[in-house]
């Protein structure tokens, strides 16, 4: 029976443990039980993790560098900008990619473009957001959509960051005049010197069809919502989540 393929007993025990929570009044004892459960899970996780790599603990890997953002200073702040309105033409621009090649928005006419304005390379949230889009690249390709990342970092910074994180879509340097394109799209945060975390979807005719500024810098837009927009533009189905009630 397919349902018995997984560790049914562990699953049962976990569900019983969960159900007991409400019947135990808040107390130090309840907290201790919870802490013990958390410890068991973490110990199990450490045992069942990946096999030893054979490298010396002091050896720095690309993975370590790619994970630097996890211990970097937090990036927080409420949104202070209002995006350009949906239904208006997307302002054209040309920016340089990490190979110093010019990239012009209007060259992508005929296909949707997702403009991803983000604060800074190497920073928290930005790292995860762009990795998500890289992991989803085949879905964007299915829609025929082009992703363009834009921040105030230089082409060299973009090149290093893209290489370390395995990002294969263009990262454009809004470097000099600093933030000019972000200003053009009304998403430049003057007090900070970098842009909001903002997403625009430009349709094949160059019209803005979706504009989203994250309410907080550490929030990213819902990818299912983004897919819905691309689905409406292209007429292709959006990928459905495999959630159950």
């Amino acid at each position: 029976m397919p349902g018995q393929r997984y560790a049914r007993r562990l699953n049962d025990l976990e569900q019983r443990f969960m159900a007991l929570a409400e019947s135990i009044p808040d107390s130090p004892e309840k907290e201790a039980i919870s802490v013990l459960h958390g410890m068991i899970q973490e110990v199990w996780r450490s045992f069942s993790g990946s096999a030893p790599t054979g490298r010396a603990p002091s050896e720095l890997t690309l993975e370590d560098i790619a994970s630097l953002y996890k211990t970097a200073p937090e990036m927080r702040g409420e949104a202070i900008c209002e995006p350009l309105p949906v239904g208006t033409p997307a302002p054209d621009f040309t920016l340089r990619d990490p190979n110093n090649e010019p990239v012009t928005l209007s060259d992508f006419r005929g296909r949707p473009v997702v403009l991803v304005f983000y604060p800074l390379d190497w920073s928290p949230t930005c790292s995860d957001q762009l990795s998500l889009y890289q992991a989803e690249i085949s879905e964007f390709e299915r829609f025929g959509a082009q992703i363009l990342g834009i921040s105030v970092d230089s082409i060299y910074c973009h090149g290093a960051w893209a290489a370390v994180r395995g990002l294969r879509f263009p990262l454009l340097a809004d470097f000099e005049p600093k933030g000019e394109v972000a200003r053009l799209y009304k998403v430049y945060r003057e007090p900070d010197g970098f842009s909001e975390r903002a997403l625009y979807v430009v349709d094949p005719e160059g019209i803005i069809r979706y504009a989203h500024v994250s309410p907080r810098l550490d929030m990213i837009p819902d990818i299912y919502e983004l897919y819905q927009v691309l689905s409406e533009i292209t007429g292709l189905p959006a990928p459905a989540p495999t959630t159950v009630a």
Partner: protein, 101 residues
């Protein structure tokens, strides 16, 4: 992949397992890591229950209960194994151990 409900005896009475997916993702819509995990499960075609911590305030208490007070997203339960902010590699390995892939 979804087990049928069943009941069995235990020293604590009759215990019944709901016909829920053995994978539960606790997260938020605006969290990149949550979206990464959800899309990973979507692509594998693995059914999962998604609990939005913003929409279900009681869920945070449940996560705290499971993790010793550490409420973080995503927290993923794979057939009873609780993973706080797992890497996709860890998640894949947990799914494999549970026989779900």
């Amino acid at each position: 992949m979804i087990g049928a409900p069943y009941q069995r005896r235990s020293p604590f009475g009759v215990v019944s397992s709901p016909a829920a997916a053995p994978v539960v993702v606790y997260g938020t819509r605006w969290c990149a890591a949550t979206q990464m995990v959800r899309r990973f499960l979507d692509r594998l075609g693995i059914p999962y229950e998604y609990v939005d911590l913003d929409l279900d305030p009681a869920a945070a208490r449940r996560v705290a209960w499971l993790t010793g007070g550490y409420v973080s997203h995503p927290t993923v339960s794979v057939a009873g194994e609780v993973l706080v902010e797992p890497t996709l590699g860890e998640l894949e390995w947990a799914l494999a151990r549970a026989g779900l892939i």
